[in-house]
Amino acid sequence: MGASQTRAANKYQDLTEKTGFSAEQIKNLHTRFQQLSGNEETISRESLENISALSNNPIRKQIIEAFFDKRNQHQNEVGTFQEISFEQFLMVMSHFQPPTLKTTEEEKEAMRKEKLRFLFNMHDTDNDGTITLEEYRKVVEELLSKSGAIGQEAAKAIADAAMLEVASTNVPHMAPDDFYEGITFEHFEQILKGLEMESRMHIRFLDVDTTTMRCGKSTS
């Protein structure tokens, strides 16, 4: 760990500017990263999938996929990575930074948009700019996969209903032969317009290095 640690220390400054995390937070996350990757430079899907704490998460797949999605790297690229480095890991994490007292309204708005984009990307797996019904259904099915008996039919029905809701909210005057292909990002923003994101899409990244004590438990 030592070698990478020193090198990483130099990089911290750089990363702080890029992601907005403090040096302590980066250090913590880095420790965690190395733990997950087994002290490798990069991390692969498998190592994330092996996290036992995640195993109960119904949308595990989507979350992991989000880390390997180039769209979440703020670089206007598309496609997926096979493995991600710490920097990319951090970039994804930076989506969940809470606002501080100093954040201005515009910045907050931008943050909100970023988070929405992140969610949108989770839905939009084929990266065509719209969430199609199939994609939506899939997410809902995953969400409900822990509910047991209710099963797939309900999930389908719910996704359809939700889709219809989007359509009717966003395209109020559809011509008779129009067909609502999918949710674009604008529509996505529209339907979640009033929803408070602040309390839901933030993680308080710890400054203090308590993570190592705890992650022993969560990775075991």
């Binding site: 509910s147 809701e165 609502y180 929803l195 602040e198």
Partner: protein, 820 residues
Amino acid sequence: MDLSISRRAGVFLVICTVLSLLYGCRGEIPPKPTGGVTIVPPIKPDNVPQAYPDAEKANLPVFTMDYPRIQIPFEITLWMLLASFAKIGFHVYHKITIWVPESCLLVSIGLIVGAIMHSVHEEPPAVLTSNVFFLYMLPPIVLDSGYFMPTRPFFENIGTVLWFAVVGTLWNSIGIGMSLFAICQIEAFGVQDINLQENLLFASIISAVDPVAVLNVFEDVSVNEQLYIVVFGECLFNDAVTVVLYNMFSFVAEMPVVEPVDVFLGVARFFVVGLGGMGFGILFGFVAAFTTRFTSKVREIEPLFIFMYSYLAYLVAELFAISSIMAIVTCALTMKYYVEENVSQRSCTTIRHVVKMLGSISETLIFFFLGVVTITTEHEWNWGYILFTLLFAFVWRGLGVLVLTQIINPFRTIPFNLKDQFGLAYGGLRGAISFALAFTLPDNIGRKQLFVTATIAIILFTVFLQGISIRPLIEFINVRRTNRNLSTINVEIHCRLMEHTIAGIEDLCGQWSHFYWKDKFMKFNNRILRRILIRDSRAESSIVALYKKLELQNAMEILDTVSGDISAAPSIVSLYEEKKSSAKPKKKFLAADLRNMHDILSKNMYKIRQRTVAYTNKHALPNDSQTKEILIRRHASIRRSLRPGSFQSNMVPKSHKYFSLPAGQSLDLKFPPSRLSYTDDHETMSEVAYPSRRSRFGQPTRSSSRAMMPMRRLDTLKEAPSVDAVDEGRSDGGRTGHGMSRTNSSYSDSHVVPAPRRHHPGDNNSGSADNLRNSHHETQEEEEEQSQPSSPSPVWAAEPRDSTTRNPLLRRPQWNPKKM
């Protein structure tokens, strides 16, 4: 017939205010205050004759009157009636309550009544003895707050809430107490005889905040969830802290000498009392939940268990002299979730109403008496002491919030900014609890009267000045707002999605916060608690719950249209209609017959209970704002069997719109939000303004009209098979939509044409013709898509039919899916 008695009876019934005189006339402080009011010999000396019939002859009296026998309950009833009338009065012109908090109005009425009583030298009623207050008036208020506590935000902010409630109250009590003690040392004020213990006791009394009025305002301007819940939780738990402190200090105040060890014992006791109360609460909560598992055969007494268990928790906690408020609050919080799943829908309604009613009347009475007592008691006015009390209360509250926020902010995901802090500090109104505590001070406190006076002064000051000014101020400084009125399926899905995402990311980071604990608890809850406590213990996702509820709602509407008067319908309707119709009179309707139609329908329809919105205020029933949702039409078979009623002819144009989810219509239109008393919220719901938006305001019976429309449509079209899959699987639209479009439009046109003719001239609901047409096209198209045999999936059809066919009326809804 005794003259004086008949006169009194007449006065009773005629003028409300005189009630108070009559009641007050027996206002000696009861020696033994158990029963509620005095049991003292009732009649005043000047109304002498008591034993009227037998005074003359031994004949069998034809007409007798035994007023003393019924006096106590009679007068209690009349007092309550008077207070309730006052409440009705406020809402007649309902703009008043927006600008002036209800508590202010109640106090004002109380002041007037008090003035009248004072002018005729009557004594105030003696209901406010310590026992009456703590055993009868306080529990409903606290149960109300506890039961309607929005669970999810509360647990998300529990740290902050407890921090402010416990530490904040301690801070205030000790700060104010010490400062006042310092003031007492100044000779000029002449209050040197008040020692430190008494000052602390007094300070603990006035540090209980009771921001009912503030909560109303917060809810109205929909300030952000965090601020709201902190104020809500603070007022709830600091009641508990205050009462503990009060008991402690009043014990200490009677001791001649306080030794250091007593201080430590006091601290230890503080924890015993608080945690003990919590323990009892949880225990009784679970027992209550467990009991309701078996009440399915005795629905009629189901609600009783809830009240009895909470009251029992309260009383047992009192028995052991631990925090009874804590006990009843935790009991309510614990059992609510499980109980509401176990009991039937109607029981649940009953529980909620009764909790609300009791809490509301208790509080009304306390504020009312506050006004009366302000006038009728003797005051000891000490400018210095009282003004400094005001000043210190204000300063310490402000300082406390500032300091405590600085400490708690680093631990919060969303820190409180200065505006929030202002809201918190300024929201510190004093209220019922302070007053009651002051009034029930033990008599051996030397300066009791001064304390009562000072407490009343501070209550009046905060309630009137801060209570009235907080709304403009909050609006002026523009505190961060949260829109709470979203409950569409998409929002629900995405809330869940975000929760899971956050939990997942937290796991990835290897750190945990409340999402981690929430996950753990949900697991435990689903595996063990629900199995034990809930009869039908399938864990249900909130999304499914919402969806099912919509289905159920729809099914019930359709069913109810058939069998117009289901037994319980009128009563339930009336409960729900009350406020809505008063707040939004139906004057928007031009056509009188349309209005009649709605009236008739509304009386015959079973109103579906909506999911509770998490936020409630103390003076109104939970605002069951309707879920504005897409309508899922699956029950084609039921619908086909329907025959249009006699009212429907003028609804025909609309029928097209409502047949399935209309593309051209706002969702709002279908589920006009029943924001009960305040209108401004409507604005938040409709991001898109539709031409026919107006109808939301004038459509008291949305369910009825919705339910009726499809039938008419079906009747006209005679196209039964297509209805079966009215669900809108849009996926197939791509294939079939284009091919069908030609036929669709012509087909639909033929049906649209007659519409305007049947369209009632006064029915401004249906909006412009264009709109109508467009939406009709859309609807038509969707439907046609579905009717294609080639189209893949009538997606709705397969799903949880069981939930509705079983017995839709008895099926319990998921009250608050969001609470998980």
